[in-house]
Amino acid sequence: MKKQSVVRGAAASPYLVWSLLFIVAPLLFVLWFAMTDRNGSFTFENLRSLTSYSQTFVMSVGFSLIATAICLIIGYPLAYCMSRASARARNILLVLLMLPMWISLLIRTYSLMALLDNGGLVSSFLVRLGFRKLTFIGTEGAVILGMIYDFLPYMVLPIYTSMTKLDVRYVEAAADLGCNGIRTMFKVIVPLTVPGIISGVTMVFVPSISTFYISQKLGGGSFDLIGDTIERQFQNAVTYHTGAAISLVMMILILISLAIMNKFSDGGEDIVV
């Protein structure tokens, strides 16, 4: 018995060391920076100063919520169609969905920028069609579009997984009890795929709210999201402490929203991540 637990401990030790070094320690650093001033003495001043960033917080949350909602609206039906498609079509769709994920996020965002730029492909195409010259870069729409484009697969995949696990007998039972297609969707399929929806929402919302790259490139510098703010604080040793405080608050906010979402899924044991 004793021997076995030693072996088990040894097997787990690389992970333990790894998580201590790269997960626990950085978190402690963040905490430490957030609660100290430049001289290293304890202070709440950093946290108190965050009130000036409240507008940034609100805007970031707003953008991410909109992007997450649109991803859900696009992603849910897509995941449903994929789960119902023939094996062949399903594989093709899966590959199409995953393919962009193999390309670096930076490159994808740059490409989107090239497409949407003034004089870029989309705008010159529209002008040729006779539309007025439109500006995309620097609008809220472009930033949200960037979030949707970059994170949509993270919405579709967990929902798709829970769809394929859904027993077809429940769908048949619903039809048997008088549900047409739409009723079956809302009375049976959606409630039974809630774990997938929660995973998807989490996996889109969290990177959306913390992104800085998308807003810089597609927002044309006119939107300062939380991610951008944090990045800027950390570029200067003087403002490290403010940056850490913002990070800390955001981390707590995300943890709270995750906890709330888990409440919706029967204790959260079925979360597909």
Partner: protein, 379 residues
């Protein structure tokens, strides 16, 4: 057309991936009838049920409900409800919401829903279970919820797909009685699918025996048992000794080297036939008093009776008797004329009814893979 006929299947064929599951099937189901589709796994009984429920469309042939062709009518518009194999209760809803599901879809006022769910819970003996989660119920309780969920919609027909297969023996017997009572109380037509012949015989008004995608025989349980049409039916329903025989003339048949008086007629003179004799219809007598004589090769105590295997000129008979005989003993067999049942030769002749390879152990071994196959088929 008979006014009493509620569902009519006309020349139904269905195949999956080139494999024929139903082969030109005709069937009439009468109003308020308890009808059972009985057969081994893969005989097409579940597919028949799914065609009536609307979950499969026949390749050829027509389905009529109350005189109306319903081939392409989706399940949700049919006046039919199903008790699924392993129930398919909605895991996200409690007992009350599961049972109320159909009424809510029909926008029934909530007061009426409450009364009706209460009635249903009484009917299936689950008073006070409203708020329970379905995952906390036992198999038998889930079964009852599934029945209540279907019956509350007052369907014209209730389809039951092996609903008792997952229950243990004792519970199964109780549920058989209960289902029969519910059917008589509600006056709803029950179409019941099973591979258990005893279940079929004890519950049904009409039994439909199926094999290889075709109906072998339709009749009352007593007809099916006493007058099987071929060797398959004789063997599938109860135990049978099936022998090759020759019909000498009306009321006289020759088999096992002996001519017997029987009660069957209407065959050609010297027509080759299958002769069925049920194990309980053979009397054990002294060797010299018997029509046939044989040596006992096996005796098994079954509680109510002994199961005796007797070798008569190389053919092993099974006999059920309350009198003990010992292995190796020579005994005489006596058979009354009305215990002899004559059948026309069929594709199943010679495949069943000889107990030469019989042993309880084999029987058990045979059953296991079959039941597993049944499960995976329905998956």
């Amino acid at each position: 057309m008979n006014k009493d006929v509620l569902i009519r299947l006309n020349g139904i064929s269905k195949s999956f991936d080139g494999e024929t599951v139903l082969d030109n099937m005709d069937l009439e189901i009468h109003d308020k009838e308890f009808i059972t589709l009985l057969g081994p796994s893969g005989c097409g009984k579940t597919t028949t049920l799914r065609i009536i429920g609307g979950f499969e469309t026949p390749d050829t042939g027509d389905v009529f409900f109350d005189g109306e062709r319903i081939n392409d009518m989706p399940p949700y518009r049919r006046q039919v409800n199903t008790v699924f194999q392993r129930y398919a209760l909605f895991p996200h809803l409690n007992v009350f919401d599961n049972i109320a599901f159909g009424l809510r879809v029909r926008k029934t006022p909530s007061g009426e829903i409450r009364t009706k769910v209460k009635e249903m819970l009484e009917l299936v003996n689950l008073r006070g279970f409203e708020r329970r989660k379905v995952s906390t119920l036992s198999g038998g309780q889930q079964q009852r919820v599934a029945i209540a969920r279907a019956l509350i919609n007052q369907p014209k027909v209730l389809l039951l797909d092996e609903p008792l297969a997952a229950l243990d023996l004792k519970l199964r017997k109780d549920m058989q009685v209960e289902l029969k009572n519910i059917q008589q109380q509600t006056g709803i037509t029950f179409i019941f699918v099973t591979h258990d012949q005893e279940e079929a015989l004890s519950m049904s008004d009409t039994v439909v025996v199926m094999a290889g995608g075709r109906i072998q025989q339709i009749g009352s349980p007593t007809d099916i048992y006493n007058e099987p049409v071929n060797a398959f039916v004789a063997d599938f329903i109860g135990e049978s000794n099936i022998l090759d025989g020759v019909m000498r003339r009306d009321f006289a048949v020759r088999f096992a080297g002996h001519e017997f008086v029987c009660v069957d007629k209407g065959f050609d003179a010297n027509e080759a036939v299958d002769v069925v004799i049920r194990p309980e219809d053979v009397d054990v007598v002294a060797p010299e008093a018997g029509m046939l004589k044989g040596e006992v090769t096996g005796v098994t105590f079954k509680g109510v009776h002994y199961e005796i295997i007797v070798d008569v000129q190389g053919f092993k008979w099974m006999i059920q008797s309350t009198d003990y005989v010992s292995e190796g003993q020579t005994i005489g067999l006596s058979i009354d004329p009305d215990a002899i049942h004559i059948m026309k030769k069929s594709e199943f002749s010679g495949m069943f009814g000889d107990y030469s390879s019989f042993s309880d152990e084999f029987d058990e071994l045979d059953k296991l893979p079959e039941e597993e196959a049944e499960e995976s088929e329905e998956e």
